[in-house]
Symmetry: C2
Subunit: 178 residues, 2 copies
Amino acid sequence: MELKPISERFILHWGEMGSRWGVNRTVAQIHALLYLAGRPMEAEEIASTLGVARSNVSTSIKELQSWKLVRTVHLKGDRRDHFETSTDVWELFRLIVEGRRQREIDPTIDVLNGFLSNPDLANEDEGAQQRIRETLEFIQILTTWSDEMLRLKPETLMKMLGIGAKLSQTFRKGSSSE
Amino acid sequence: MELKPISERFILHWGEMGSRWGVNRTVAQIHALLYLAGRPMEAEEIASTLGVARSNVSTSIKELQSWKLVRTVHLKGDRRDHFETSTDVWELFRLIVEGRRQREIDPTIDVLNGFLSNPDLANEDEGAQQRIRETLEFIQILTTWSDEMLRLKPETLMKMLGIGAKLSQTFRKGSSSE
DNA sequence: CATCAATTTCTGTACTTACAGAAATATTCG
DNA sequence: CGAATATTTCTGTAAGTACAGAAATTGATG
């Protein structure tokens, strides 16, 4: 597939953003490509469109699947795997937040909980103890709240957040549960 | 300074987290150290405590200052710079979100706006156009809302978010404006 | 204003991560 | 079940990033 200029720039920018947030550039690019394409694509087409090796696509797709951002579909009369992503921004956002949470936040909470139930904690400076406790509590509050928010339909959420109705119509497509 | 075991593990974990979010490991470690220490430290002490080169501390501190996470203070009768960070989790969170916003979100909004005011956009597939518009709108809604939230005092925010009062007391120290 | 301490910038090296291409494996179809 | 095609895993190289140590600069003090 030959990319049109704006799509190409969108995809490149997305790759840049990915890098800055700890996401492999190619992974981010592939996701952006599938997002803009809005249709299932097979590995070879992805590779040639982005100018990367097919093996790289394979690895990156696996990564995207582990985030549940991409699913495999099959087209009648074609034995190759085709890959697609949701075109719903809100759903994508939700999946990314959930992925980050599982990979980084939850383990961090475990580590901090470990510290608090460790008798050695008493040896630390009073202030440090206090701050470790506060850090844990902060993270827990934030994740609890974000869990609740992500469970809502976007329209409901928009209302809750007190954002004007004119904007919320963007999300008319709806997605997610509840 | 000799780190006590739990502080050390906290700092190392923070460094790991930093890496995963696109923040230099040493930068994250230094910040964690200053956070737990809760007092100003000078470059040499930071370097020896963390086992990194002094030059590395210099660069990292500059980075942290550009995020407004660390400020320089001077102690009477000591010509060396000393560095400290806030011990208020909420304030730190606010500064990090604001930094990310300025560095990554705002430029992305500019790029997307550029696409929308570019006549070439008409050449793109209808669906792609639509999705570019939706992406921009989504990001704008999110940042508008986060701006509003971050301007609130933590207690007010907690109430808004409907989180029980028992938790919000963690943030009694207060910070930020409004 | 010369000396000394502190700090920053520069430079080469080490480490890490990304990735292409090759090889191996799996899958589909006749 | 064998051939053809698709996919994944492996491996070496390349690119990028982090960092120590050296050199240069800044700035304070007598």
